[in-house]
Symmetry: C2
Subunit: 341 residues, 2 copies
């Protein structure tokens, strides 16, 4: 069977599954322009840092397809795509890498071919790198491990086997995993909707839990490792990821449970020296007072709604990448990973 | 104006506001029997440890009203009421105290009067003790304090001014409070529904936040104290409270932010030496996969859904009660509070 892909290239358009409607409805959307792509990114129809890298690269092919394909218009498109959401570094770097490849080709028809080919290679690299990352991560787990994940870090987040969920899958297939705990991940419930959708298909013994229940689960000794993805990793190892990650890492540290980040090296931003430099997206307060069409708060109540938080490097036992497993001090180990500049 | 009361005695029945329907609908229910009361307690139509104490006492009046009022039937009723939910000690102790008072009265008509009078005094004591607790708690806050609360600990939880929310109200009235942050409190959203309902009426500058966002808010230095209620306090100070409390306390400790428990002395259970002895209620997994009529998880996904967790005494800066403020070591300070046995 062809593996599931949440974003598919169908030159001259791309098609993506609308992740805001999962798990109840599997609706595909056709995206023909950079503007449509930006709308889909802002609304989280396509999300997950590595998948946003694919979206960024594919968006450049759309830009060339619908514009004049000149240097100026492609540079404008890369800037527009890269600034659609602020925290995940791969959205901007995926678009920038595609732009760089295109600028090396002078002929406009060849440039168009180049951009579609670049997006296609980007997807293929994602799939290959995820698998390498997952194998390296699974080796870190003790036999019979119960693992806790946060948010969604599977195929829906990367286009490959996933980062943290990729580790879970490989660990399960190799007999190392006993149980998979998944937080629901308020406010947008990526865990309860997307991870649960993936875990039901995976057939791994698993439980969903309210974000609030993770601390007592860890305190009870029922979790042997916590693994999350990352939206941006600073040069010193501080890591921005889905809001709630920092609290999980803090509780894991109190109980001596290793907390791992699983992310491709493309998530490392060497231009960000420390976590405090990572821009954190603030989202609509309306996301807090309800979900979808349901409102459970009284109208007019204000809300604090950051999409991400930053986990200090000191709480991270290791950063698992496709190029190797990095440990503290990260300012030394991250640049030392294979293939790093 | 008469202050709002979530549970009202109207001999021969009691009336309570259905908290599962707030904030959208203010529906009152008439409760005529112990069985109806148990259903309301299990479904959380009436909740909050101190208010469950009132419910326990009032339930004994219903038992006498609808039964023969004899020693055996009243003892059975007290046992039934006390075991309806396991964690909050006041549900059982409120019923047991009412039983004890009734057993001192031989005449059955006088016994009925005694039980209604006992419930009425229990409510009056709640109101008076909450106010004393709130004043003691407000004095602990620095001027201009921003305070984070969890779950609902206001009038809907106690029948008085509230515990943690009582502290907030008195601090606001005395000019000490700058901002009130309230977690939404998944899975049943007591913060987003009930606390938000109370905070909108209070006119205090306030923000709701996903439970996941509390850690980064604390890390950013925007919270000067975290105050929660309690469902049961062990003799050593370990405290069971709404799930998620432990995680908040752990993060507050990392950042030197004081974490306070605000609870009446009736919440202390000297028969429980340590937190590990407190029974923790596990609730329906269905609460995790959605809310009210909305399902956001795929069907058939399992869930871990404890209603409470235990915060170790070492993370608690002080326990604020109506009888004084206790600090570590709690095994000494709690029995030393005014009026303790």
């Amino acid at each position: 069977v062809e593996p599931f892909a949440p974003l598919v290239l169908q030159r001259p358009v791309i098609r993506l599954i609308d992740q805001t409607l999962l798990p109840h409805e599997e609706r595909w959307r056709t995206i023909s322009t950079v503007g449509e792509l930006q709308e889909a990114i802002r609304a989280l129809r396509v999300r997950g840092a590595p998948l946003l890298g694919i979206a960024g690269a594919a968006g450049m092919a759309l830009a060339a397809e619908t514009g004049d394909g000149g240097n100026a218009s492609l540079a404008r498109a890369a800037a527009a795509i890269g600034s659609t959401r602020p925290t995940a570094v791969e959205l901007a770097s995926g678009a920038a890498a595609a732009l760089e490849a295109a600028l090396e080709v002078a002929d406009s028809a060849a440039r168009l071919d180049c951009l579609w080919a670049f997006a296609s290679r980007y997807i293929a690299r994602r799939i290959e790198e995820d698998l390498r990352l997952a194998r390296l991560g699974a080796e870190l787990l003790p036999p019979g491990a119960a693992v806790l994940t946060h948010c969604n870090t599977g195929v829906l987040a990367t286009g490959g086997i996933g980062t943290a969920l990729g580790v879970i899958r490989v660990a399960w297939e190799s007999g190392r995993l006993s149980h998979w705990y998944a937080t629901e991940t308020r406010p947008l419930l990526q865990g309860a909707r997307l991870t649960a959708w993936e875990l039901r298909q995976a057939g791994i013994p698993s439980s969903l839990l309210p974000d609030t229940a993770a601390a007592s689960l860890i305190a009870a000794g029922n979790v042997h490792a916590v693994i999350t993805g990352a939206d941006r990793i600073a040069a010193n190892g501080d890591t921005a990821n889905k809001v709630g990650t920092y609290g999980l890492a803090a509780v894991a540290a109190r109980h001596g449970v290793p907390f791992y980040i699983a992310a491709p090296t493309s998530t490392i931003d060497f231009a960000c020296f420390v976590g405090a430099s990572i821009p954190i997206e603030m989202r609509d307060p309306a996301e807090v007072g309800g979900f979808a069409e349901v409102r459970w708060s009284p109208a007019g109540v204000g809300a604090y709604n950051p999409a991400f938080d930053v986990t200090p490097a000191g709480l991270i036992a290791a950063i698992i990448t496709e190029a190797g497993v990095a440990a503290a001090p990260y300012s030394v180990s991250l640049p030392g990973l294979r293939g790093m500049p």
